[in-house]
Structure formats: C-alpha cells, structure tokens
Symmetry: C2
C-alpha cells in the first residue's frame, strides 16, 4: 500500500529529513510512503513553468498512491496548508481514501475566533468575525469540506491530545496504527 | 452547462444575494450557476453531523456540475479559502475543468512575505518566512498546487487589474466571457 504523505513539511529547511522520517515510520507498519519531494525537478525556463512542473509531478504521485495521509496542522493561519488541502480534495475526487491528523487539538471555530474574532461576546451558533463574516461552528477541526471529505470516505482524522509542533509525528503514527489494524 | 460557484461568499451576511447575483451573471452568458447554499439543510442531531451533511451536499453539487469557477481571492490570510481549495481539488480529481479568479492582483510570494516575512532583505529565490520556512517563489497567484491544477486542465485563472473586494464580480465575469467564446 502506497501512501502519499501530504503536508507543509516541504516548506521546512530540513524537509528531506522530515520526509525520510515519515517514510521510515510507514515502513514500520508495512506501508510505503511517497513524499512530494521524492520527484527531482529540473528548473524550467520560467519560475511559473517550474511551479507547474512540481504541481504535475505531485498530481502524478497522488494518482500513483493508494491513499493519502495529510498533515492538517494549522499552517500560516487558522486552517491547514492550502496545497495539502487541494491534494486531499484531488485524492477524494479520484476515489482514494483520505486520512488526516493535526497537532493542534483546538477546534476550528475557536482558532478562527482567536485569530479573526470580533473580540465581543456573541451567542453560540451566531459567531461572526471582526468583518461580520460567519465563523463555522460545527465542532470540527477545520473547514467542513475538509472534515466532511475525510468522514465521507470513512477516513481517520486524528488530533494530538496536546498541542505539538507541526512536524511532530505521534498523531501521524496513530493514523498508521489504525490503518494497520 | 452547469457551473459550481465555489468561494467564500457563503460566509457573508448577504450570502444568498451574492449567490443570486453570480447565478444571474451566469444566465447572461448562457450558463447555469450552482451555489453551495442552493441545497437546504435541516440541522442534524449534532453540530458535526450538520457539518458533514453540508459537506456531502456540496460534494454532490460538484459531482452534478460540468465545471467549477472558484473565487480564489485571499481569505483570512495569504491564500484562498480552504473550503474552496478543497472543492477545486475534488473537481479536478473527478476530471472536471476548474477555473478561478482573484480580486487581488498581487503575487503569492509578495503576500506571504508581507504577512509572514522575516522583515529582512533576502536574495531572490531564497525567501524564508520569519520561522525560516520556505516562501514559494514561482510568480504564481497562490500555492503551486492551485495554480498548477487550473493550468493542467487548461483552465482560466483571472486576476483583477486593481485590488477589489472579495465579493466583486468583474474578474468572475471575465472567466465567463472567455468560456463563452
């Protein structure tokens, strides 16, 4: 079983080591991990052409995998990394099982309220941000399309019990444990 | 041709009006717009069950459309709304054409740098944010999986020439004009 390892680890200075570590954990449970940086890209004529090439290679990797496990820990805001979110959407559209984990146990509405809230007391179910825009209150871990897509395919979405760094792997390993049962 | 109208308009207090307006513009060009709020949801037993129900209905709407036009204007951060991003990934995985527009003409690396940059001068091609994480520099409008997915399917990704509110529809209409040619 080949698992595409989606997540914002690719932006870290030690991305290759982080990928190698996750692949090693996959090995321990009898899975093969595919990391976005596995494909070596030669720079194209323009920056945007290089970007499109990387996107193409990642889409191919996802096509080649049996399932996706996404690191959905909040990244640069209240939600998961958007590249990762695109990838789980893509995988689900292709009919592949998607799973996720987050190293932040806080619920989505609480993070949104902390980052973008109005700072005033508001009745439950009627939360608005400081611009008057609705804050989703569904007791979910992120935008309902993310939690919903994972749920609809029978996937696991594991949250760390205590807030941990984006690169921590305990919740990731918990997904693998459940998959190997 | 049925077009799924993905975007963060659903969070606005006048979401129904915003959806009706975009559907009317679709009509003008001979298309039928499907808006996420078209499906009326009865609240389920729990908040999360209601969220899953909305997600399911939206996935069904996307399955029923011929193509997607996504409002990818930055929302609560440097990137497009994550729910919208999940939806274009899903549509692409289903083999449907995806198109997008943004009312912010600034490129992604410039927005990331403004919001999360280190504040120090850095050589081009080696931009890092304040946490030392890589800032994508591909002269694209958002994360390369978003621009890349649209590009790979031959889609249009139109940017407004001047920064405009999230709910402005000129760039949206420009996508329709190109589609109707």
């Amino acid at each position: 079983m080949k698992i595409y390892l989606a997540g914002p680890e690719v932006f870290f200075p030690d991305a290759d080591e982080l990928g190698a570590r996750k692949k090693q954990i996959c090995d321990q449970y009898g899975f093969t991990g595919l990391f976005p940086l596995d494909t070596q890209i030669e720079p194209a004529a323009t920056a945007s052409a290089t970007g499109f090439l990387i996107s193409h290679e990642n889409e191919q990797l996802i096509q080649a995998c049996d399932l996706v496990i996404a690191n959905l820990t909040p990244f640069r805001g209240a939600s998961a990394d958007v590249g990762t979110v695109y990838e789980i959407g893509l995988a689900r559209g292709m009919g592949k099982p998607i799973h996720g984990y987050t190293n932040d146990p806080e619920l989505y509405h609480s993070r949104l309220n902390a980052l973008f809230g109005s700072g005033t007391e508001q009745p439950q179910g009627q939360l608005r941000d400081r611009d008057g825009l609705k804050i989703e209150e569904f007791d979910l871990r992120d935008n309902l399309m993310i939690d919903g897509g994972i749920h609809a395919g029978g996937g696991h979405f594991i949250a760390a019990q205590k807030k941990a760094a984006i690169t921590e792997t305990a919740a990731f390993e918990e997904v693998l444990i459940r998959l190997s049962r």
